[in-house]
């Protein structure tokens, strides 16, 4: 059957939707309007960046609604159900409310950093999306240093937090900023180490290549690394159980306590967008991003696979957010420095040594990384490596859990012994020490 030309053109565009739109616009600019090719490419880049940045922010309308609905289910409530069908427009109404509220500027606030801080905060989140690959052909910028770019721009968020905390001229906001920076800087260590695993296994920092090499998603190959990376990411966003930055039921907000109206809304948007962004990064780095059946022939499917993966991870994050109790700050630090970092370091070193040894011993160990090979040959080519890495992970993970459980038992026995020693000599009628003499 012969299809009319217009149908085949539309089908061709739909097969690879981002490249299709790009080519369509290029023909429009160059052939119809007679612009130079360089200028046309600049215009397209600008349109792409504009669309991506707005997608990140407009997406919040849906994700905030989703999060409130899921939290309501967890807490046996209805959640928003008045504005629009299923309350889906509730966020729009909230946005309108925040836009019309007054921005109260505290006395003696440092105006310029005060208003710059939320902008830098939201910028540090939106710019991460430049290196999120959507389909095999579409990515904001396939930088050769994509992974480094991600950690670099997200570290700008620290500056924003410090600026906000200090410029508010409020001792609680400064203390909140210190608390936030101490926690975020600590959790950057397991985060970077966890980021090194996909980079190391792929041999490049390009996000597109990292996704391409995940014939088997890295999470199923390196589950321990994936879980530690995910924990560190949640801590970086400051969500439960790591939400001492805000802790709305105990201390009510930290560095952003003096912000109101739209200035607060920008901080809020940055935080929620960050919560969604880490899900996208987790999907890209450990769950194979756009990879799925037939994605090589129909690149547009990539965005569907990525979307499904991101949504599932996002749901798990929200689920954890409303079920896991909040950790105390010292427990958070202990978890980071005494558990996550050592386990990650051991895992990293063991992986380097054994992976290199296996590469020398097993023939064609790394051949699957070549993108020109047919799909099934690459998939089977990855199996030996997946087996070796999974073995390492099981051993290291089991060892870590064993060490922690032994330490925990020793600690419990020590405290029990102390308590017995305190009670026994004094007998049952021990005088109560009040400490008020």
């Amino acid at each position: 059957m012969e299809l009319p030309p217009i149908v085949t053109t539309i089908l061709a565009i739909l097969t690879d939707v981002f490249t299709g739109i790009n080519d369509l616009l290029m023909t429009l600019w160059v052939d119809t309007l007679g612009l130079s090719e360089q200028l046309a490419m600049s215009i397209n880049t600008f349109i792409g960046a504009f669309a991506l940045a707005n997608f990140v922010l407009l997406n919040l309308i849906l994700t905030i609604w989703f999060e409130r609905k899921v939290s309501a289910r967890v807490q046996d409530r209805f959640g928003p159900n008045r504005v629009g069908p299923w309350g889906i427009l509730q966020t729009v109404a909230d946005l309108g409310k925040l836009l019309t509220k007054e921005i109260i500027i505290p006395t003696n606030a440092d105006i310029v950093p005060f208003f710059l801080a939320p902008l830098i905060g939201v910028l540090s989140v939106i710019t991460i999306w430049a290196v999120v690959p959507f389909t095999p052909t579409a990515i904001g910028a396939d930088l050769s240093v994509g992974a480094l770019y991600f950690v670099a721009v997200s570290s700008l968020g620290l500056t924003a937090i410090l600026m906000a905390g200090w410029s508010s001229n409020n001792k609680y906001s400064v203390l909140g900023a210190f608390r936030a920076v101490a926690m975020l800087v600590s959790y950057e260590v397991p985060l970077f180490l966890g980021l090194m695993i996909p980079v190391m296994l792929t041999g490049t920092m390009s996000m597109q290549a990292i996704v391409d090499s995940q014939l088997i998603a890295y999470f199923f190959v390196m589950p321990v690394a994936g879980l530690i990376f995910w924990t560190a990411m949640i801590a970086e966003v400051g969500r439960q159980p790591f939400d001492v930055l805000e802790a709305e039921s105990e201390i009510v907000a930290g560095y952003n306590i003096e912000y109101s109206g739209f200035a607060f809304a920008i901080f809020y948007a940055a935080e929620w967008a960050h919560g969604f962004t880490i899900c996208a990064l987790m999907a890209v780095l450990y769950f194979a991003g756009w990879r799925g059946p037939f994605v090589e022939t129909i690149p547009t499917l990539g965005i569907v696979y990525l979307g499904v993966k991101v949504l599932v991870i996002y749901f798990i994050q929200v689920w954890a957010r409303f079920t896991v109790p909040r950790l105390r700050l010292d427990h958070i630090m202990n978890l980071c420095w005494k558990f996550l970092v050592p386990v990650m370091l051991v895992l990293l070193v063991v992986t380097i040594v054994i992976d290199k040894a296996a590469a020398a011993l097993i023939p064609n160990y790394l051949a699957y990384l070549n993108p020109d090979l047919p799909y099934f040959q690459r998939l089977t080519g990855m199996l030996p490596r997946a087996g070796v890495l999974l073995f390492i992970n099981v051993i290291v993970g089991a060892g870590a859990l064993l060490a922690v459980s032994r330490q925990g038992r020793a600690e419990r026995e020590r405290i029990e012994a102390l308590r017995l020693a305190e009670i026994e000599p004094a007998g049952p009628m021990a005088p109560i020490e009040t400490g008020a003499d």
């Binding site: 360089q38 600049s42 440092d110 950093p113 930088l143 050769s144 240093v145 480094l148 770019y149 950690v151 670099a152 721009v153 570290s155 700008l156 620290l158 500056t159 410090l162 600026m163 200090w166 400064v174 210190f178 920076v181 800087v185 950057e188 920092m205």
Partner: protein, 170 residues
Amino acid sequence: MTFSIIWIPFFLMAAFTIGGGLGVVISRNLIHAALFLALSLFGMAGLFVLLEATFIAGAQVLVYLGAIAVLITITIMVTRRLMGITETVNRQWPIAALISLLVFITLTVVNVNAFGAVLEPVAPVPADDITLLGLLLADAEGYFVPFEVASVLLLAALIGSIVVAREARE
């Protein structure tokens, strides 16, 4: 030289770098000086991007903005009586000015001599510059020794800071 579109980001980043540096020197408020320093370092990262040294740019943002600028800001915030200082110069300004002038002259002379009087287009950046960098850092013929010496120095500083910060035991 004719106008090219790359001039716009270049002059923006150059303005960030120089303006930030100027701000560090003339701010009366130490926190403002620290923030200007961050701006200046950000401008440097932008210049590295324009030079196609993306790895250096990323490392610049990560290390200088994400760590050192934050560290300086926190240090200023937690140090007592440091916030009240409003003088921008102290007694050492003549010698500081002299040293900066000497460094400036040296760098200018070296750079002008290195490139010649007229700037010529430099060799194109190799496509896989990170691999090249990594190989050079691990190569005994390349920068292996300086790299290892630097890492030992950093380790010593790390241990030293732990020793200094540890509470003295009787």
